[in-house]
Each structure stands twice: as structure tokens, then as C-alpha cells.
Symmetry: C2
Subunit: 208 residues, 2 copies
DNA sequence: ATCAAAAGTTTCCAAAAGGAAACTTTTTTC
DNA sequence: GAAAAAAGTTTCCTTTTGGAAACTTTTGAT
């Protein structure tokens, strides 16, 4: 994203996709499988044909009498057109719900660097899928950076005011004005400079 | 997010996290496990202690000599503090790289509804982690909606101009002015209305 | 209710997994 | 570079899985 390292400085800002880190899963694989098979309207015989596993084997798995091998599980997922995660996902993955975090204008968490003045938004919530922040771009020259910025994930930026030049590893530099936006793979080298009189203000959102 | 159903209308806008939907996974489970163990800096002996699986068993699994039972896999994931999906994720999820999509001011893909005028951004790229769009909020009244809007994922919004009132299922309505932003779980019912004279303009970003 | 067919479970056995210990390879120490 | 220690692999054997078929239960048609 930038030269800001959110992991280290704001550990709570860590963008993550895990399902609320539930305790070690005692996953009732058998029950789950039965559910899935039923929902597909299949009999053991039919499921057997589709998966290549014996009718009896399926029965035993569903009744938790045996613990299928990975091989068997692959046949299951392949034959029933489901993917592994689905097999383990508890019935309904109702992710964290009902959270909300408002950040008033100029009231984010400030984090200045030599090239930017970052204002982190929504810092009250953890385990977010996205990390939003506004930045004032102070850099004026390519040379203000020692190297390309690159990191995991996707990045989206929108110019709120001013004018910036967006440099990236595989493209020609491009000038962006107020209202313009760009979406890019952040593992492609990138960097920004303000090309207008005043410092440009941008909104940045990252997702990994 | 809104009453806009991106899946149906703009299939290519589908926000997804899957790794490019590769063909049925021949998942090299053994190699993957070895990588993980190495990355944790563990020897077979240590991993054995942590997982409760015999050193020899681990060796065989890593060398694809046997296909672990689900039981064994649970010991693996539990003991090594990883979760199942991680085990199946291909070695390196080097997501698409070097992609970039610029959307000039007012040049997004228009999509008007009764309550909003959406302008989808970065529509050239598929398989994005985020879906950004600007919206002009036309709704003026709670009653312009038939019910709460709710859907999977996280949502972030920033007011670009005007004033909106943000209603949500579990909180009191709140007024947001230019520069204010809110981050919330989108499966919590939510809706927006413009509360200023002119229609408010907002930036919206969703991630699932 | 009775019988037949379909669905599901259990038994029995061959095949494969998992563990203890022997063995081999790699790394460290002197 | 040899010896010792550590890491990893293979062997051998016990336990468990997976499949074919026998058996039991459920469905449903008359």
C-alpha cells in the first residue's frame, strides 16, 4: 500500500478473512455430509455412483463410524461438486455481525511518514476485510521513494482533492485528478506523488 | 450494500476471494504440509509432539505415501495452529499481478435505481477483492425502502459531498457529513437517505 | 395391513493408515 | 574429516478404513 506498515504499528488493524477465529473445530463431518447429500436430494446409492465411494462407506462416514481418508474426501468433494472449505464450514458462517464504526472528518488516527500523512479510519474494529484510510500526499518527486511500494492484496484509491501522478511498475505514469480512481494489484510496484500546488488528498482502501 | 445486485447485473463485478477457481484440486497435500512445517521452523519430531501424530506418519504424509484420515488432519490443523482451508490453499496464492484499472471522474458504469444512482468503478477488472462505486443518494425518506438492505461482507462508505443519514438495524440513525466515513458489517440491516438539500454523493466499497 | 422395492446399516474381509523402532541421511561438533 | 547428534525414512506390525454383500428398516403401492 504505502510505506506504512499497519501490521507492526497497528496490530489491531490487521486485515483478515478468517471466520472470527472460532475455537478448534470439532467439525461434525458426518452430519455435515449428510446435510449436503440430503440437500442435493441424493440417496446413498446415487452419491456412491457420483463419488466412487461404496454405499457402505458413505453410510459409515455419515454416522461417524469411520474417519475418511483425505483421498476419500477428495472423491466426496469432487463427486458432489462441493469444495473442501464447504465441508468444514459449520452450517452457516454467520460472520461477525452488527458492528459499526464511524470516523468523523479529520478524526482518524494520524500516522505521518516522510511521504504521506495517513489518517487511519475505522480503527475501533478489528478483523476487518478492508483497511481504509485517507492520505495527504507529501511526496513531490519520484526520488522521495527509495523503491517501489509493494505488498499483498488489492488496493483502491480515489482522489479527493488535488492532483497526483500514479507511478506503477508495468504502466506509464498517469495523472489523476479529483474524482478519478484506480484499482490495482498491490504486489505490482507502485508509488504516488502530488503534482498540484497543494498536497493531494486521497482515499485509500486495501484488502488482502 | 444497496439494492443493486451486482451478481446478476454485472457478473464480472463479482467480488471474490477464490484463487482463480482452478480446476478440481489435485492438492499436493504432502508438499503443502511440508512447506507449512518448514515455515514454522519445526522438525518432524517437534511437529509430532504438537500434533500427536507419529514422526513416521508425518513423514509418510509429507511424502504422499499415505492419505491421512480426517482424524489425522484434525490433529494436524489443531496442533500446528493452522486451519483446514490453509492446508488446501495452493502453495502460493500469487494472485493476479500487475493489473490496474483507472476510472476517470464521472466515467464509471452507470446504474440507476429508485433510491440511488450508482457509478461502478474499475469495471474492467474481474476477480477483485473489493467492489468500489460512487453513489448519488436519491432516497429522502426511510419509506423509500421496503426493508433493510443486508448482504454478505464488510462495507465502507465515505461521504464525498452532501449530508446523509445512516440507518442501521442495531444503532440509532446517525448523520454523516462530507469527509465522514463508516465501516460496518453489511449483514446488519442498513440504509441511507440524503438529508441535505442536494443529493449526497458517497464512495462505497464492499468486500466479501 | 401385506408385500415389494428402495434406502440405509452392519458384517466380514482385503487394503491402507498409523505407530514403534530400526535404519539411513544430513548436520553439527571437535 | 571422523564421530556424534539430529533429522528424516523405511520396515514391520497393529489398528482402522473401504468395499461387497448380507441384513434391517423405511417407503409406498395395492
Amino acid at each position: 500500500m504505502t510505506d506504512l506498515n499497519e501490521q507492526d504499528i497497528y496490530p489491531s488493524m490487521k486485515v483478515s478473512n478468517d471466520q472470527g477465529s472460532k475455537k478448534i473445530e470439532p467439525v461434525k463431518l458426518g452430519l455435515r455430509l449428510k446435510e449436503i447429500r440430503k440437500s442435493l436430494g441424493l440417496t446413498l446409492e446415487e452419491a456412491s455412483k457420483k463419488t466412487g465411494l461404496a454405499r457402505s462407506t458413505l453410510s459409515k462416514i455419515e454416522n461417524e463410524q469411520i474417519s475418511p481418508t483425505f483421498q476419500a474426501m477428495q472423491k466426496l468433494t469432487g463427486g458432489l461438486q462441493i469444495d473442501l472449505p464447504q465441508l468444514f464450514a459449520p452450517p452457516k458462517q454467520l460472520s461477525a455481525t452488527g458492528r459499526r464504526d464511524i470516523t468523523r472528518n479529520e478524526e482518524g488516527k494520524a500516522h505521518p511518514t516522510s511521504t504521506y500523512e495517513h489518517e487511519l479510519l475505522a480503527t475501533q474494529l478489528t478483523n476487518k476485510k478492508m483497511m481504509p484510510f485517507k492520505s495527504r500526499v507529501r511526496a513531490r518527486d519520484f526520488a522521495d521513494y527509495s523503491d517501489w511500494i509493494r505488498h499483498d492484496g488489492d488496493e483502491f484509491l480515489l482522489v479527493l482533492s488535488g492532483e497526483i501522478t500514479f507511478f506503477s511498475e508495468f504502466y506509464e505514469p498517469v495523472i489523476l485528478n479529483e474524482g478519478d480512481s484506480v484499482y490495482y494489484d498491490a504486489n505490482m510496484g507502485h508509488m504516488l506523488i502530488s503534482s498540484s500546488e497543494e498536497d493531494a488528498l486521497i482515499l485509500w482502501v486495501t484488502a488482502s
